[in-house]
């Protein structure tokens, strides 16, 4: 114990000494008692001589985002962990400073391991979106915006009602079992036809016709056409219910999804088929229906979206305009690497290569089957071969995101036309080569020198759309108009308005709010009998509608995401959450600001961060700590399961958790996690407001210490959110997540100051999310631009420009 009796102020230290163990450290005295020396003696055994960690002692390397003061306090309070109190006061300050500067701080880490740009291949969703847009390029208008009208175009066709028999002539009326009319005879009868737009397909004609005054009820047909709008990527189930003949085609108009033209009997049949669709797009749909002498007639068109329940397709997802088919790759790929949290395309495997082969064959066959349409030629055209060659070249250029040199064209594509048996086979092979080529699969191949316009174009298209550059981008690159900061910003802003950006942001919401937890949650039916799959689907819709509304509003204010005191509810949800809404659809419902505050108190999230019966303050607390407040948390050294049965049955959840985590080692992190989690205890396992937990009043009042050492008093969600919405670390967390998700690289690759630059710009823009996304895309696009141009870009920013790599 000789060591710490000497040296600087050590008042009260004797009292903090851990009396359980006596341990000698043999520390030097005076000037030799440096931070480094203290570290070597007291810390290195568990943390490694360079903070890298020691197997079986403390595996995690010592680095993080805590400021220095926080480190000092943490060490004094909890370290060394087998002799707490042995390193305090001046010792703690010195060793903390040493640790901080040598390897803990982000700056130190950046110095020791400068982050590199990771070469990656396309992720699964990037692959699919790129192929859809690539083939779509040969179907002009495939991605045009739909008009505002909703519903499907309907064409009704039947026979004119025969004039009613003259009552005087009933005696001569035809006998009841006269021979049925032949097709020829039928053809001679006058027809009745009319068109209209039906908001939904849900008709029960019984024994009548669609127009009982004019149209014969025995036989008639209807055809509905238009497009369906798919918001989410995933598997959609389409259901047609009818006792008559029906045929349904969705997206692929050549191969029917449902062919139930032949009806065999009077019972209503239900035909169900699934199809995988990419979100954020619309697809052509055609539904044909006919009745011939069936007793009754009816038809319903329903669907089940990836996270929805079976419902008649709502009007707002139908359009009477018919778009062209989108090529959606059906091949399944092995899952992308998610070891760092977001999906990246690092690493190749045999399975992945096999999948790219299958997918390439799928696309080659699609092109082959639609060759005339995609190349706008016929096999009898005299210049057919030239047109096919042009197609093959253009296909490769769009896929490779830049023009193909004549030499490369001749070698890889022209060559196929010379050796293949027919030009059609040459096209197929050209498509196969293109989609297996690294120039398609690895979108950003590092190269020396300044990025050119095409590099910038492909980076913008990837960050904002997860896809290939579109025509305006490629044109700008070709004309040299994609070089200056202003030009690049202008393109980014144009691209922001595209539905593909909205689709990418949906993916971001999923990632940011950890919505995977909400997949298939089941709540205890006794405690929450009304919480069924329909409610879950509605809550998800409510959340996404809210997120979309805020992000795509003028202000696009991040703070509103956290602080909004309203929820978008429909009738069903309103009832469950103690409000009332009348009429169709989701409406804005205001709440007491102390009871609802943005995403943090949205019932979908609260239900996701909860078990089937009870709340989970730890899960909620961890989410709030990391994602909303933006503090670092290491994983727990030991995973401890929460077992309700182990606790006194009279305790509230707060009391149980407090009991479970009271150990000093736990409190290192739980000192932060718990207060945040408890502040949401007024919301039960399905996010409803409650004031009682286990027959005791809920206590959501807590004190929470920030990294800087400030104590914040929280009386509930509103206080927490007020703090989080204004704190720079919270903004940093949001920016960091959005950056990683959009660009799929570490932000430090773009310079050690980049995150701070973005944060300052975020603040000055009024926390505008769209502007942030644009800044991120522009930063990623301009990687490697030489300083002078980058400096021009930074004129508006107060801090230094990101250093080029």
């Amino acid at each position: 114990m000789g060591g710490f009796l000497l040296g600087g102020p050590i008042a009260g230290l004797a009292a903090e000494r851990n009396h359980k163990t006596e341990k000698t450290y043999d520390l030097p005295t005076g000037e030799a008692r440096t931070g480094a020396a203290i570290y070597q003696k007291m810390c290195a055994d568990c943390h490694g001589d360079k903070g890298q960690g020691v197997k079986d002692e403390y595996d995690e390397p010592l680095h993080g985002n805590r400021p220095l003061q926080s480190l000092v306090k943490r060490i004094a309070r909890t370290m060394p962990d087998d002799n707490v109190g042995a390193c305090v006061g001046d010792d703690a300050s010195k060793v903390a400073a040493y640790i901080y500067e040598s390897f803990y701080s982000p700056k130190a880490q950046a110095r020791l391991n400068p982050p590199e740009f990771d070469l990656s291949r396309l992720t699964i969703s990037q692959y699919r979106t790129s192929v859809a847009d690539l083939v779509g390029r040969f179907r002009p208008g495939f991605d045009r915006a739909l008009g505002p009208q909703h519903g499907l175009k309907a064409h009704y066709s039947g026979l004119q009602l025969e004039k009613p028999a003259d009552p005087a002539a009933t005696a001569d009326a035809k006998p009841a079992d006269s021979k049925p009319l032949t097709k020829k005879e039928d053809k001679k009868r006058p027809r009745v036809q009319f068109d209209r737009v039906d908001s939904q397909v849900d008709f029960h004609f019984a024994a009548a016709s669609p127009d009982p005054e004019k149209m014969e009820p025995e036989e008639f047909s209807v055809r509905w056409e238009g497009s369906i709008i798919a918001e989410e990527t995933g598997t959609y189930e389409f259901i047609v219910k009818s006792e008559n003949g029906v045929r349904l085609a969705v997206n692929d108009m050549k191969n029917l999804l449902v062919d139930a033209w032949v009806s065999s009997g009077p019972d209503v049949r239900e035909e169900k088929r699934t199809v995988f669709l990419l979100g954020g797009r619309a697809y052509p749909i055609s539904l044909e229906f006919f009745k011939f002498k069936d007793k009754t007639a009816s038809i319903e068109l329903l669907w089940k979206t990836p996270h929805g329940v079976v419902e008649k397709i709502p009007q707002q997802f139908l359009s009477p305009e018919r778009l062209r088919e989108t090529m959606i790759v059906k091949t399944t790929f092995p899952a992308d690497d998610r070891s760092v949290g977001y999906e990246r395309g690092t690493g190749v495997s045999k399975e992945w290569d096999a999948a790219t082969t299958d997918a390439a064959i799928e696309v080659a066959e699609h092109v082959d089957a639609h060759l005339d349409e995609l190349t706008t030629t016929k096999s009898s055209d005299p210049n057919r071969v030239d047109r096919l060659k042009q197609f093959a070249r253009k296909f490769a250029e769009i896929a490779f995101r830049r023009p193909l040199s004549d030499e490369d064209y001749r070698h890889f594509i022209g060559h196929q036309f010379e050796v293949a048996k027919t030009p059609e086979i040459a096209v197929k092979r050209a498509v196969l080569y293109t989609l297996k080529s690294p120039r398609f699969l690895y979108p950003e191949i590092p190269k020396a020198g300044k990025p050119d316009g095409y590099d910038i174009a492909e980076r913008l298209a990837l960050s904002l759309w997860d896809s290939l550059p579109d025509i305006p981008l490629l044109r700008a690159a070709a004309e040299g108009k994609l070089q200056t900061h202003d030009q690049i910003v202008a393109q980014a802003n144009r691209m922001m308005a595209d539905p593909r950006t909205k689709a990418k942001m949906h993916g971001f919401f999923h990632y940011w709010l950890e919505l995977e937890r909400a997949e298939g949650i089941q709540k205890d039916p006794k405690s929450f009998p009304e919480f069924d799959a329909q409610v879950l689907a509605d809550l998800r819709t409510s959340l996404f509608l809210f997120l979309d509304q805020v992000v795509w509003s003028d202000k696009s204010d991040y703070r509103e995401l956290l602080q909004a005191n309203y929820l978008l509810l429909n009738e069903r949800l309103a009832k469950l959450y103690d409000k009332s809404v009348s009429g169709e659809g989701f409406q804005r419902v205001e709440f007491d600001p102390n009871r609802r505050s943005g995403v943090v108190t949205h019932p979908y999230l609260l239900a996701a961060f909860a078990s089937s019966k009870q709340t989970s303050p730890i899960h909620r607390g961890v989410f709030l700590t990391r994602t909303i407040v933006g503090m670092t948390l290491k994983p727990p050294p030991m995973a401890v399961a929460f077992e309700d049965a182990k606790f006194d049955s009279h305790l509230t959840m707060r009391e149980k958790i407090t009991e479970l985590t009271k150990n000093t080692n736990c409190m290192g992190c739980h000192g932060t996690i718990n207060p945040l989690g408890f502040s949401l205890e007024n919301y039960d396992a399905i996010g409803r407001w409650r004031t009682q937990d286990n027959h005791k009043p809920v206590n959501a009042v807590t004190d929470f210490s920030t990294d800087e050492g400030d104590k914040i008093h929280l009386t509930g969600a509103r206080d927490l959110v007020k703090f989080a919405a204004e704190t720079p670390s919270g903004h940093r967390a949001f920016i960091h997540l959005l950056f990683q998700y959009a660009v799929k690289q570490e932000v430090n690759v773009y310079g050690p100051d980049e995150l701070e630059n973005l944060r300052q710009a975020f603040t000055s823009s009024g926390f505008n999310i769209r502007k942030l996304l644009s800044d991120i895309a522009v930063t990623a696009a301009m990687r490697g631009m030489p300083e002078p141009e980058a400096k021009v870009a930074q004129e508006s920013k107060p801090s230094t420009a990101p250093k080029p790599l």
């Binding site: 032949v262 009997g265 002498k293 064959i361």
Partner: protein, 438 residues
């Protein structure tokens, strides 16, 4: 390559281990010490009836073939012609619909919404067809199970599902669609092997591209691409060696990749389908197959025979129209020629794991929806058997007394070992049970 490596290799190519066409038939794998006797059945369909005077031979113990069946002469000692089989199914639907959709089910159609040229509207068949019935029986026997159980081949079948385009039914309301695209059928049988040539022609370029690109990268990035190059090289090698196993009895057929699936190429497509059919039987992928030419009321314009009128229209001309009569004769002779090609391919292929040729162990049944086109007759439906099966004495022609075709199918089922089948289709038409044709 040893047989085990082949299994691995096929799995790697994405062809599942169930898809071992080359191996499945080899006795060494089955563990059987004696060769197994395999019996097969192929039902071939052609539409619009026939010309009875040009078709039916005299009932005799020695077969003298009439003009339409002339192409079958090389096989006449293995041919059995049965006159007097009648489709006695009435009820909903017109004669064509019942001729087609009750042909293999021998049972009535369900009431429905599809209107024919006359009669009441009808739906699908109301029970299982004989090919599917026999398939289920065989798949239930451990030693007779095959990968597919049955394969339904088509030639020039229109792309719609109605009672005129379907003759196979897995059960009531469950039509089974034939595959008339040889490339699609090839893909079904051989998986990704169908793309072998296309892939082989591009993988070299892909590897070159990868090498070029990786040359300019940092060491860390290069490692990723090098891994990729290795994987591609392995795929190339696997594809190259896929056909070289000497143990393979029946190699994957070579399909001409450039045949456009249009009407005028029908003869070529027919031969491609027959080759695939023989290949599937040789590799024991199935023991039951159907081969459907066109559909009931087929209107094919057989320009390859110099005929531009639709088949169905011709079939409705009176017998006195000599021009149509001659054309119908040509058409039906062409169908007989395709049957002859099928028989020839089976005859020249040795029976794997057995004795004699495959034809010795296969019963081909050529039939039709109608007896005669212009009368829509459902009596005396063409029935020509070629090959060999237990219980059939070949090389002759017999005339039966207006026999319901239920009994014909019972006989075929019994020949395939399904001897517990007492009735098939409409039960009261099965009086007398299987026919005695031995």
């Amino acid at each position: 390559m040893s047989t085990l490596n082949r299994r691995q290799f096929l799995r790697q190519l994405g062809v599942s281990s169930a898809a071992l066409p080359f191996l499945a038939g080899l006795p060494s794998l089955m563990g059987a010490s004696t060769p197994q006797r395999r019996q097969r059945v192929i039902i071939m369909f052609s539409p619009n009836g026939t010309l009875p005077n040009e078709f039916w031979p005299e009932a005799a113990d020695e077969l003298v073939l009439k003009p339409i069946m002339e192409p079958l002469n090389p096989f006449k000692d293995r041919t059995l012609v049965i006159n007097g089989i009648c489709n006695k199914i009435r009820g909903d639907g017109d004669n064509h619909m019942r001729g087609m959709s009750c042909l293999l089910t021998a049972n009535e159609l369900l009431p429905g919404n599809i209107r024919g040229g006359g009669g009441t509207p009808a739906g699908w068949a109301s029970s299982i067809s004989i090919d599917q019935e026999i398939k289920n029986f065989l798949q239930g026997q451990k030693d007779m199970r095959t990968r597919f159980g049955s394969l339904e081949f088509g030639v020039a079948v229109p792309d719609r599902a109605d009672p005129w385009t379907r003759m196979s039914y897995a059960g009531a309301n469950q039509p089974v669609a034939p595959i008339d695209n040889p490339y699609q059928m090839f893909g079904k049988m051989y998986g990704r092997m169908k793309d072998r040539d296309d892939l082989a022609s591009v993988l070299d370029d892909v590897r070159e591209d990868l090498t070029r690109v990786s040359a300019k990268l940092s060491a860390r990035d290069k490692a990723l691409l090098d891994q990729h190059v290795t994987i591609v090289r392995n795929l190339e090698q696997d594809l190259k060696h896929s056909d070289k196993d000497a143990k393979m009895a029946h190699p994957m057929p070579e399909l001409d990749p450039s045949v456009e699936l249009v009407n005028d190429n029908t003869p070529q497509i027919s031969r491609m389908q027959i080759d695939l059919l023989v290949n599937s039987l040789a590799n024991d992928m199935t023991r039951i197959a159907t081969l459907q030419y066109m559909r009931s009321v087929g209107q094919a314009q057989m320009r390859w025979l110099g005929i531009s009128e639709g088949h169905h229209s011709l079939s409705h001309e009176p017998d006195t129209n000599q021009d149509s009569y001659a054309k119908l004769k040509k058409i039906n002779t062409w169908f007989a020629g395709e049957l002859a090609y099928l028989a020839k391919r089976l005859a020249e292929t040795p029976e794997p794991a057995g004795e004699g040729s495959m034809l010795d162990h296969t019963l081909i049944v050529w039939t039709n929806e109608l007896g005669k086109g212009n009368t829509h007759a459902l009596d005396n439906i063409p029935c020509v058997m070629i090959g060999g099966a237990p219980g059939f004495k070949m090389g002759r022609s017999v005339k039966l007394e207006k026999t319901p075709h239920n009994r014909l199918w019972l006989t075929v089922a019994h020949a395939m070992g399904h001897t517990k089948l007492d009735t098939f289709g409409k039960a009261d038409l099965c009086a007398g049970g299987p026919l005695s044709l031995a």
